[in-house]
């Protein structure tokens, strides 16, 4: 067996390294709950300074989402976003390791029941709130398997840790696939949908070499993944926009919108997809504008040229 290089040893401690995830697991088992507020505050402060690209991305995204907000205020809002992120991953670890109790309320219960009962569907979500916990909740509530598609993690060990965490959180009912741009995953997902599975995809940002579609979000041009829409059209399944927002200490809100159906008209496939994307953007815009402090899109979504307009 090869010994790990010094670079990979140091990589453990990088901002997106596996060390921090392992520390969180350790803290969940070893620390009393009342230590968390202070600990989460200081870790947020630490990452606010050391995760500079993420902080800058949040500030840049907020400049578009909240046009009247100045840079200084957006930095404070970025802190709040990172603080919420710290709490959501802490909550996910608490559920995974000690099965801590969480209260939740459902907004759009009818759509959620429809989703639970549908033979197969696509759940379209965003990097928002606690999507890991949400997948586990859904699998638990409806006794259904769910297949989650995630953007690949830059660190291999972190990716492995996240995959095993998600599968542990979902008690085996949550399977994780990484969106790597290859056609193989698309066929896999199509087969999963045809076999009656539920596929969950994050549709608020493009990461890596994946197929994209132009859309208008907050009046600004953005690139979004077109995979979920093509998949829905080919498989003939509805898309359910679903978000899991943090509503307080150990409290969550499951927000489900009416399904988006990607119709297949005889005119133009692109036009059909564009219509569905427009509907998704309207939902995303509404959700993000209300819960901007839980939008964990840690890369710039809006291009700098667009932001200047």
């Amino acid at each position: 067996m090869m010994a790990p290089s010094s670079a990979s040893r140091l990589g453990r401690f990088a901002v997106r390294g596996v060390f921090w995830r392992e520390y969180l697991d350790w803290a969940t088992i070893n620390l009393p709950f009342y230590v968390y507020p202070v600990n989460v505050f200081f870790f947020t402060l630490f990452f606010f300074f050391f995760a500079a690209p993420a902080r800058r991305a949040i500030v840049a995204n907020l400049a578009v989402v909240l046009p009247g907000s100045g840079p200084a205020m957006n930095h404070l809002r970025a802190f709040r976003t990172l603080w919420n992120f710290a709490w959501t991953i802490t909550d996910a670890a608490l559920y995974k390791l000690i099965r801590a109790e969480f209260a939740y309320e459902i907004v759009g219960a009818e759509s959620l029941e429809q989703l639970g009962a549908s033979p197969s569907a696509i759940v379209l979500t965003a990097h928002m709130g606690n999507y890991d916990l949400g997948a586990a909740l859904f699998a638990d509530k409806f006794n259904r398997e769910i297949r989650m598609v995630r953007a690949p993690e830059p660190d291999r060990q972190t990716a492995e840790h996240l995959s095993s965490s998600l599968e542990q959180t979902g008690a085996g009912a949550v399977k994780v696939d990484y969106n790597t741009g290859g056609a193989l995953l698309s066929f896999d997902l199509l087969n999963a949908l045809r076999a009656g599975e539920i596929v969950s995809i994050q549709g608020d940002r493009v990461d890596g070499e994946v197929a994209q579609v132009s859309a208008l979000l907050f009046g600004t041009n953005v690139q979004l993944p077109n995979g979920p829409f093509v998949l829905a059209q080919v498989a003939g399944v509805p898309i359910y926009p679903l978000f899991i927002a943090r509503a307080g200490y150990r409290r969550y809100q499951v927000i489900v919108y009416e399904p988006i159906v990607v119709v297949r008209t005889s005119h133009s496939r692109e036009k059909d997809i564009a219509d569905a994307v427009t509907k998704w953007c309207a939902v995303l815009e509404e959700t993000v504008s209300h819960r901007w402090d839980q939008w964990f899109a840690f890369i710039p979504i809006f291009s700098p040229d667009e932001r200047k307009r």
Partner: protein
């Protein structure tokens, strides 16, 4: 996870659980109270901060003292991170010796944390001035909490015997 609106147990510390029981509430232990988490966490942090601030020399210039007190904010956090790690090793050692096996590690950690914070609070009380008041409040709270824990233990024993 649960989606019910039924009020369940909502306190961790014995004193608040006894008060809840007196008001016909649920006295079982829970870790879902944000106010309790913040209050206890900040109190421990404040006591340790005041304890270490006591060691900052008084003959320094104002800006040096201010800088040290500012750095101390982060030092205290790092101090606790190290203490938690050392405590976890102590707990594992005690568990190997057959002690503290029946309670989760984080509860055992809570006991050690309480002892450390109380030792610091006692030092503050002995040091006088306004931090002594904060140390005294902590000591009284701990004493009341321990008494409440004894009441709860006695009550649980009585109810078990009654069953």
């Amino acid at each position: 996870m649960n989606g019910s609106d039924k009020p369940g147990p909502c306190f961790y510390f014995s004193l608040l659980r006894v008060l809840a029981a007196l008001r016909s509430g649920d006295a079982r232990r829970a870790e879902n109270n944000w106010g309790e988490a913040c209050l206890a966490g900040i109190a421990i942090y404040l006591i340790s901060y005041l304890f270490f601030a006591h060691w900052v020399p008084e003959n320094l210039m104002v800006w040096q003292r201010t800088l040290l007190l500012l750095l101390l904010v982060f030092f205290v956090w790092l101090f606790w991170l190290v203490v938690f790690y050392v405590n976890s090793l102590v707990i594992r050692f005690l568990q190997l010796c057959g002690l503290l096996r029946t309670i989760p590690i984080r509860r055992a950690q809570s006991v050690l944390l309480g002892i450390s914070a109380s030792a610091m609070a006692l030092s503050l009380v002995q040091g006088g001035s306004w931090p002594a008041e904060i140390g005294a409040v902590w000591m009284i709270s701990v004493a009341m909490n321990l008494t409440a824990a004894a009441i709860l233990a006695f009550r649980d024993d009585s109810s078990n015997e009654a069953e």
